[in-house]
Amino acid sequence: MAQITLIEAITMALAHEMAADASVIVLGEDVGVNGGVFRATAGLSEKFGPVRVLDTPLDETTIAGVAVGMATQGMKPVAEAQFDGFVYPMVDHIVCHAARFRTRTRGRLTCPLVLRVPWGGGIRAPEHHSEANESIFTNVPGLRVVMPSSPSRAYGLLLAAIRDPDPVIFFEPKRIYRQYKEEVADDGEALPLDVCFVLRDGSDVTLVTWGAQVKETLEAADALAKEGISAEVIDVATLKPLDFDTIHESVKKTGRCVIVHEAPRTAGFGAEVAARLAEHAMYDLVAPVERVTGYDTHIPLFRLEMKYLPSVERIVAAVRRTLAAS
C-alpha cells in the first residue's frame, strides 16, 4: 500500500475509475498534458489519452454545459473547475440542468456527472482562488455535495461520487492537498456518500466540521484534551444529503455543539446544522450551539487570510464558552 497525499488519492481514484469504466471522461482546463494546475490529473493523459482526458477551451460554461450533455447520453464526465472562484459561470448548468434532468424528465434522462472543485483559502493564492462556496450548492435539490478531508476519504468518496447516478459537487480542500500522507489501498472500495465520519470520540462537546477545517478542529480537540476536555470530532464529508443522525447521536451524548466552517457565517451550511439541532436536539443541549466560521466579508487577500479562517484558538474559545454556559 502506498503512502499518499490527498491529491494523490484523487489522482488514484480517477485512474482507477477510468480503467474500470470506459464511460468515465475527465475534462477541464489544463487537465491534459499539464495534469491540472494542482496535478490532480497528473499522468492520466499518458495513461488514457487526450480523448478521455480532455483539455477544453478556456470557458467554464463550456465545461459545465458539455459535461451535462455528455452525462445525459451515457457518459460519466468528471469535470474540473480549476478553482472555487471560477464555478460561478457553471452554476446555470448545474442548478438548471444537472440537478433537475431526472425530475424534469421523470427519470428518462439523468446526469451522473462529477464536478471537482479545488476549494477554500489558506494557500496564499490570488483573488477568486480561495472561496468557500459550498452553501451555494447545498440549497439545490438534486445535487450531492461532498468534501473529503483525508487521503483515504478522498479516494473512497471520489469513487463513490463517480459511481453515483446523480450529479455530485466534489469540493477538494486544496489547503490540505499535501498536508500529510497516509496509506491508501487502490482497491476500488468506495465510501458511503450519506454518512458523517466520527474522527474522534469524546464526551463533553461535539465539534462538527468539514474540509480543511478538520485539521484545525482536530488540533483544537488535542489542545482541549490536555485540559481534560473531551471533544468528539465529526467530519460531515457529505453535506448534502446530510446525515444528521450521526450529529444528533453525538449531541445526545455531549449536550454541546460547536460547528466549524470556513465559509461566511450567514446562511453558511453551519446554519443548517444549527437549525436541525434546534428542531430535533433542543432538549439534548445544555448550552447554546456555537459557530466558528469565516466572517461575512470576502476572504481577504493572502496577507490577512489566516486571520479570516477559523483558527485553533477560536475553536477552543468557542468550546470554553459552551462549557461555561452550563
Binding site: 460554461t61 458539455v66 445525459t72 447520453q73 431526472r102 424534469r104 424528465t105 444529503p241
Partner: protein, 357 residues
C-alpha cells in the same frame, strides 16, 4: 495589408413567397411529390395543433404556451432530416420537429399544462426535453456530440436556438467547442426576428446570424426558414457532413414569429401590424401549398379533408391530455435522486400526512 481571412455567407432558397421555384437544382427528396406532401401535411397538422393549444390556454385549460406559428417549415425540416438515433435539443416551440420524432401532441400539452410527464415523451428516449433558460441546450447538444465522437458512433446532435438566444454565451461556447473538437453538431438559429419584444437588430451588429459560426471555424449557411425545401436541403447537408466526421455547422433559418412570444405576451405593444401583415405573405404553408397545387400533388379537396382529419386527431390528443389525472403529490419527490435520501423521505411522509387529513 494582406487578407488574413475572408468569408461569405450563402443564402439558400428554393421556393419564393409565391411558391415559385427560384433554383433548378431541386434535391432528390423534393422531386418526390409524395414526400413533399407528407411534409406539408405535418406542417399543416402542427398549425392546427398550435391554434388549438392557444385556444386551450385562452380558456384556462393550459398554462402559458409558446406558439410556433410561422416556424412550421423550419421545425418540420429539422425533425425530418434527423435520424431517430440522432439527438435533438430543442428550445421550447419546436413541435414540428418533435412530432416528426414521435413526441405526441398530448405530451406537449402535458408539459405546458404543468405536468413533468410531458417530458417523459414517446419520442427518442435520448432526446432533450424543453429548455427554458435560453441557449443552454446548445452546450448540451455539443456535449452529446462529444459523447458520440468519443464512442465513435455515427450520430449527430442538433440544437435549436432563437435569434435572441444566439446572443448568449452558451450559443457561442457550443459552436466554439464544436469547432475546436470537430464535433458532429448542427446549431440551428431559428431567427424569427423577435426575442419577446426585442428585435433582431438589437441583438447584434452582425449582418447575418449565420456568420457567428465563422469565428468558431464552422461552415455556415443562411436559409429561407419559411421554405421547407431549402430548410430540409440545408439540414440534410449539415447532418450528413457532421455524421461523416466533417464537423459542425451553423444554419440560420430566417423566418418570422407570427404569434405572440407566448400566450403571456402581447406583441401589439411593440411591433407594427403592417410588419406582421407583410410577414403573413411570406409564411411557410402558403408557398408550399401553392407549389404542390401547381405540381398537381395537392388540391383544395385534399386540403379540406386533411384539415378535418387534423382536427380529429388533435381533439383525441386534447382529450387524452385533459383526462390525464394529476400526479400524486409525492411525485415531486420521486425523481429528485435515484434513491430518496432519508431527510427527503421524512418530507415526503409529511406531505402525504397533510394529504390524508
Amino acid at each position: 495589408m494582406s487578407i488574413a481571412a475572408s468569408f461569405e455567407i450563402e443564402y439558400l432558397q428554393y421556393l419564393d413567397a409565391e411558391g415559385k421555384l427560384v433554383r433548378n437544382d431541386l434535391p432528390e427528396f423534393a422531386k418526390d411529390a409524395k414526400q413533399l406532401v407528407e411534409l406539408y401535411k405535418t406542417m399543416s397538422f402542427v398549425r392546427v395543433f398550435d391554434s388549438k393549444a392557444v385556444a386551450l390556454q385562452r380558456t384556462g385549460k393550459l398554462g402559458t404556451y409558446a406558439s410556433c406559428l410561422g416556424h412550421e417549415a423550419a421545425h418540420v425540416a429539422i425533425g425530418s432530416a434527423m435520424h431517430i438515433d440522432d439527438v435533438f435539443a430543442p428550445m421550447y416551440r419546436e413541435y414540428g420537429a418533435q412530432f416528426v420524432r414521435g413526441v405526441k401532441p398530448r405530451e406537449v400539452l402535458m408539459y405546458w399544462g404543468g405536468d413533468e410527464r410531458g417530458n417523459d415523451f414517446s419520442g427518442p428516449a435520448h432526446d432533450f426535453p424543453w429548455c427554458v433558460p435560453i441557449a443552454t441546450q446548445c452546450l448540451h447538444a455539443a456535449g452529446a456530440a462529444l459523447a458520440f465522437k468519443i464512442r465513435k458512433e455515427p450520430r449527430v446532435a442538433v440544437s435549436v436556438v432563437g435569434d435572441g438566444g444566439s446572443s448568449k454565451t452558451d450559443f457561442y461556447a457550443a459552436i466554439n467547442m464544436a469547432g475546436a473538437q470537430t464535433l458532429p453538431y448542427v446549431s440551428v438559429i431559428v431567427n424569427n426576428q423577435w426575442a419577446i419584444s426585442v428585435p433582431r437588430s438589437a441583438q447584434t451588429g452582425a449582418k447575418t446570424l449565420a456568420q457567428k459560426g465563422i469565428a468558431a471555424g464552422l461552415e455556415c449557411l443562411q436559409v429561407d426558414g419559411n421554405d421547407l425545401i431549402a430548410m430540409r436541403t440545408a439540414m440534410d447537408y449539415a447532418i450528413k457532413r457532421a455524421r461523416h466526421g466533417h464537423g459542425g455547422m451553423v444554419i440560420e433559418a430566417v423566418t418570422y414569429r407570427l404569434s405572440d412570444h407566448t400566450t403571456a405576451d402581447d406583441a401589439r405593444r411593440y411591433r407594427a401590424d403592417g410588419e406582421v401583415k407583410a410577414a403573413w405573405e411570406r409564411e411557410p404553408l402558403k408557398r408550399l401549398r401553392a407549389y404542390l397545387v401547381a405540381q398537381k400533388a395537392w388540391s383544395d379537396k385534399h386540403e379540406e379533408a386533411w384539415k378535418a382529419e387534423c382536427e380529429k386527431i388533435v381533439d383525441v390528443e386534447v382529450n387524452a391530455y385533459l383526462e390525464t389525472k394529476v400526479q400524486p403529490v409525492e411525485a415531486m419527490f420521486d425523481f429528485v435522486y435515484a434513491d430518496l435520501p432519508p431527510d427527503l423521505q421524512q418530507q415526503r411522509a409529511q406531505v402525504l400526512a397533510l394529504e390524508k387529513r
